[in-house]
């Protein structure tokens, strides 16, 4: 498509060394409880490179002003930074138009926007929202709220034993009341990579739309909205090396055009009369109030950083770490790993003998190793796995084999301690 001026995988000038990449992330050199930090909680949030941190301070030190108003130079600079970030996001995710890129606070707000705005006028009694059984609470609860408000139904696609979705079964058991299918591209618990493109084809052939939760996929691999052909795509900046509080909703333009505003306020209107208003053009119709300009600046810097490394390098590096982690975790006696899908990312949820995941995480913390323990905001999935909570190690390209060795050794120590 000619309109897409995209530089996706700019070849790096030289293959970066892991030490060089780690040096880009100041926090990675700190210690925790007297030990070097091993940060293995990247699915919760990623750490930030200096380039992102400097984009934030740089914005406030030289260009801070409100956007889209005020005919002064700072206002123009801030607007250019904010709208430049939007254009960067558009190219990064392979969308056709920047009008399709709505800035939000994160994945959660993006999905709530769709549920409230699109769902609020398009769904009602007799309609069904079909969500995968491995969704984060942020892709479940907004639909529950909508169903309560509008009288539609919420159904789940069961998760197979290996942690995958059986798309053949989705197709065979299709319920024609389904108007929207929601699925995560990568599970934050199981690491499963779902074939959301195929799911979209199944949905579209039957008149339903597809919403993709890209929170866990965007940081680790290239996504392309035209190729995926999803109707809605949500992701967060903070899991992709950008600041917290900035996220994106991509939606096809015709859908956004027809959707009513989500929140009312400044910047989202053309004109306001006492009793009624008219709406601003896309995407600003969905961006009421002063936006998170610093966050957008940080997200743009994070995208530059990712593209500087290149997804080829990131993918190869994370695949290497992933197989090293799998090998080490499988060697820990008594460890049960959840999620064995063929296509998976470097996210490993597990339980270990009698040791409660909270206690496990506490033991690892004493060794300087940060993992998540709990239900990972996916209680329905964990219940279907027959557990209440699990520990989770989730990796990023800056992790090291040595950190994985420390993880394995600490897990064996924990198993002895809590036996």
């Amino acid at each position: 498509v000619a309109a897409r001026a995209v530089v996706k995988s700019r070849p790096p000038l030289a293959v970066p060394s892991v030490a060089e990449v780690r040096a880009d992330f100041p926090i990675l050199s700190r210690t925790v409880r007297g030990k070097p930090l091993a940060y293995l909680d990247n699915a919760a949030t990623s750490q930030k490179p200096s380039a992102v941190i400097e984009a934030l301070t740089g914005y406030y030190e030289s260009s801070n002003a409100n956007v889209h108003r005020g005919l002064h130079s700072l206002g123009e600079e801030a607007t250019a930074i904010y709208e430049g970030a939007r254009e960067k996001v558009r190219a990064f995710i392979g969308a056709l138009r920047s009008s399709e890129i709505v800035f939000t606070r994160g994945t959660t707000e993006s999905i709530n926007l769709v549920a409230s705005s699109w769902g609020g006028v398009n769904l009602g009694p007799g309609d069904t929202v079909l969500v995968s059984g491995m969704e984060h609470h942020s892709d479940i609860v907004p639909w529950q709220l909508l169903c309560e408000r509008r009288g539609c139904a919420l159904r789940f696609i069961p998760v197979e034993g290996d942690g995958s979705l059986d798309l053949g079964r989705v197709e065979a058991e299709w319920d024609y009341s389904t108007r929207l299918v929601c699925a995560t591209q990568v599970s934050n618990v199981l690491g499963t990579v779902n074939d959301v493109k195929a799911l979209g084809k199944i949905a579209h052939r039957r008149g339903a739309l597809l919403l993709v939760d890209g929170a866990q996929s965007v940081p680790h691999g290239e996504v392309d909205m035209v190729d995926l052909d999803c109707d809605f795509f949500a992701f967060s900046g903070h899991k992709a090396y950008a600041p917290m509080g900035i996220g994106v909703l991509y939606a096809k333009e015709d859908l956004l055009e027809a959707m009513p505003p989500y929140m009312g306020g400044g910047d989202m209107i053309l004109s306001v009369r006492e009793q009624s208003s008219t709406w601003n053009a896309l995407p600003w119709k969905f961006e009421a109030g002063t936006p998170n300009v610093e966050g957008a600046a940080g997200l743009a810097a994070a995208i530059d950083y990712i593209l500087g490394l290149g997804f080829d390098w990131i993918g190869a590096r994370e695949a290497e770490l992933s197989s090293a982690a799998l090998e080490r975790l499988e060697a820990v006696p008594g460890l049960v790993l959840y999620g064995r899908a063929k296509e998976r990312e470097a996210v490993f949820s597990f339980t270990l003998g009698r040791a409660h995941p909270h206690d496990l995480a506490q033991y690892l913390d004493a060794e300087g190793i940060a993992v998540r323990a709990g239900h990972h905001c996916a209680q329905p999935l964990l219940r279907s796995l027959g557990i209440g909570s699990a520990a989770r190690a989730s990796l990023a390209f800056y992790n090291t084999i040595e950190e994985l060795d420390r993880l394995a050794a600490a897990l064996e120590g924990a198993a002895r301690f809590y036996r």
Partner: protein, 155 residues
């Protein structure tokens, strides 16, 4: 002694491995369980009152970590036999101290519960250590409201 060792003292691990007062409370409705929202752990507590208004029995059913299980076990030992008003005051002050609102020295006068003082170094674990106590306070309210039913249906 590291903060970790302070948290997982021998007495905590002992109560975790052999909880006192643990029982199967599947007869207690799930809606009455107290849940720790950060991990999904849940506990049910049941209180039986004597005619004199003391705690005749304090049972719990917990699916939780070492800290929440040990805290429930220590609690059941510490509160059993006490008058309800006294038990309520003790529970309130225990919860207060762990939240950092009371004098930490209060725990020194609370028997083996002093073993939970290490929790103060880990704000994220305060919910684990206080879960049983919140559930106990609710159970006490229920027992006080329906003493006749409980004594009539010991099951």
């Amino acid at each position: 002694v590291s903060e970790f060792d302070e948290l997982y003292q021998e007495i905590i691990m002992d109560h975790y491995r052999r909880p006192r007062g643990a029982a199967d409370l599947s007869r207690v409705p799930e809606a009455l369980a107290h849940e720790n929202p950060t991990c999904g752990d849940a506990i049910k507590v049941e209180v039986e009152l004597s005619k004199e208004g003391t705690i005749a029995a304090l049972r719990f059913d917990v699916k939780g970590c070492a800290i929440s299980t040990a805290s429930a076990s220590l609690m059941s030992e510490y509160l059993r036999g006490r008058r309800t008003d006294e038990a309520r005051t003790l529970a309130d002050s225990f919860i207060g101290v762990l939240r950092g609102e009371g004098d930490p020295a209060t725990l020194d006068a609370m028997g083996d519960l002093v073993a939970l003082r290490g929790v103060a170094s880990y704000p994220m674990r305060v919910k684990c250590a206080t879960l049983a106590w919140h559930a106990f306070l609710s159970a006490l309210d229920r027992a006080a409201l329906e003493p006749a039913e409980i004594s009539a249906n010991p099951r």
